[in-house]
C-alpha cells in the first residue's frame, strides 16, 4: 500500500490496514518480559521498570514470573556455566512467539569477565538472541532503545510466506538442547545451529 495514499486517505478519515499490520501492532504493543535478572544489568533493568524510565509505557506492563506467560527474556547479567543450562531450559519453556534480548557485555560475549573459567562467553551460543545491547551496564535509555528495536523487528515480521518467523513455521527449530555439565566445560560448548563458530585461521 502506497504510504502517501494511506496518509491522504487518513486525512479524509479512512483508515486502511492489513491483517499482518494489525497482528504485529497488537503483538509489539504488549511484549511482556520475564522476571529474569542475573547480575548488575538486572539493577538497570529494574530501574527501567520504575517511574523515571517507565518501560510500561512501551507495552511491557508486567514482568511475568512464569516463562509460559512471558514473551520476552531479557538476559541481564553474566551467564555462568553453572547457570547456562537453567537459562536454556527457561528459554525452552517459554511459549512461542518468544524473543530474547542480551543486555550488557556479559550476556553478549562474556564481557569484562571473559577470561573467567566459569563464564559463558555469550548466551547466544545456545539460544537465538534478537537484540544485543552493548554496555556495562547499559543505561535504562539503552534498554528502552533495545525494546523499541525489538518492536520494530516484530513490526516487520511476515505472517505467511518464506520469511515468516519460527513460531508460524511448523518445521522450524523449536527445541534448543540444554547443555550438560562436562568435566571442564559444558557439553556441547555451543549450539552449532544457533551460533556458527567463526573459522579459526591459522
Amino acid at each position: 500500500m502506497d504510504q502517501n495514499l494511506k496518509i491522504e486517505l487518513g486525512k479524509q478519515g479512512v483508515f486502511i490496514t492489513t491483517i499482518q499490520e494489525l497482528y504485529n501492532w497488537g503483538r509489539r504493543s504488549s511484549v511482556w518480559p520475564m522476571n529474569f535478572g542475573l547480575a548488575c544489568c538486572a539493577i538497570e533493568m529494574i530501574a527501567t521498570t520504575m517511574a523515571r524510565y517507565d518501560i510500561a509505557r512501551f507495552g511491557a506492563e508486567v514482568f511475568r514470573a512464569s516463562p509460559r506467560q512471558a514473551d520476552l527474556m531479557i538476559i541481564s547479567g553474566t551467564v555462568t556455566k553453572k547457570m547456562a543450562p537453567q537459562v536454556v531450559r527457561l528459554y525452552n519453556q517459554m511459549g512461542e512467539p518468544r524473543y530474547a534480548i542480551a543486555m550488557g557485555a556479559c550476556a553478549i560475549s562474556g564481557g569484562p569477565f571473559k577470561q573467567g573459567y566459569n563464564v559463558l562467553k555469550g548466551i547466544d551460543r545456545y539460544i537465538p538472541i534478537d537484540v544485543h545491547i552493548p554496555g556495562c551496564p547499559p543505561r535504562p535509555e539503552a534498554l528502552l532503545q533495545a525494546f523499541m528495536t525489538l518492536q520494530k523487528k516484530i513490526d516487520g515480521q511476515r505472517l505467511t510466506g518464506e520469511g515468516r518467523p519460527s513460531f508460524l513455521d511448523a518445521g522450524a527449530q523449536g527445541e534448543f538442547p540444554i547443555p550438560e555439565f562436562g568435566e571442564h566445560d559444558l557439553e556441547p560448548p555451543c549450539n552449532r545451529l544457533v551460533w556458527p563458530a567463526p573459522a579459526v585461521i591459522r
Binding site: 512464569s66 509460559r68 531450559r89 519453556q93 512461542e96 508460524l168 511448523a170
Partner: protein, 123 residues
C-alpha cells in the same frame, strides 16, 4: 413469542453468549490457520525456575494448615449459612431453630479452640 415478558432477556442472553464466544472462536480459527502447535518435551517440562523437577507434586502438607481451614469454616461458610436463616427466622418452627443452634454451637466450639490457641491476636 415476541410478546413474552422474557423475550428481551432471551435476546440479551444470546447476545452476551455471542459476545463471549465469538472472540474465542476467532482465536481458535486464527490458531488453526496461522499458528501451528509446536510442542516438544523441553517446552512441556514442568517449570521449576530452570531446574529439572524430580518426583511428584502430591507432597504432604504441614498439619498446621488445619487452623486456617477451621477459621475459614467459621468466618466464611457459617456466615453464608446464617444469612438465609436470619432472613427466614420468623417463619420457621422450633425444630429448625434447634438444628441451626446445633450447627452454630459446633462452629462456636471451633472458634473457642482457635481463640484458645491464640490465633485471633496479632503476635
Amino acid at each position: 413469542m415476541t410478546s413474552s415478558v422474557y423475550f428481551s432477556l432471551a435476546v440479551l442472553f444470546v447476545v452476551a453468549l455471542c459476545f463471549g464466544l465469538t472472540p474465542l472462536a476467532l482465536a481458535w480459527l486464527w490458531a488453526k490457520v496461522f499458528a501451528p502447535p509446536k510442542p516438544n518435551a523441553l517446552k512441556n517440562a514442568t517449570y521449576e525456575c530452570g531446574l529439572v523437577s524430580k518426583g511428584d507434586a502430591w507432597i504432604r502438607f504441614h498439619p498446621a494448615y488445619y487452623l486456617y481451614a477451621i477459621i475459614f469454616l467459621i468466618f466464611d461458610v457459617e456466615a453464608v449459612f446464617l444469612l438465609p436463616f436470619a432472613v427466614s427466622f420468623t417463619g420457621l418452627g422450633v425444630a429448625a431453630c434447634i438444628a441451626m443452634l446445633v450447627f452454630v454451637l459446633l462452629l462456636i466450639e471451633g472458634l473457642a479452640w482457635a481463640w484458645a490457641k491464640g490465633v485471633l491476636t496479632w503476635a
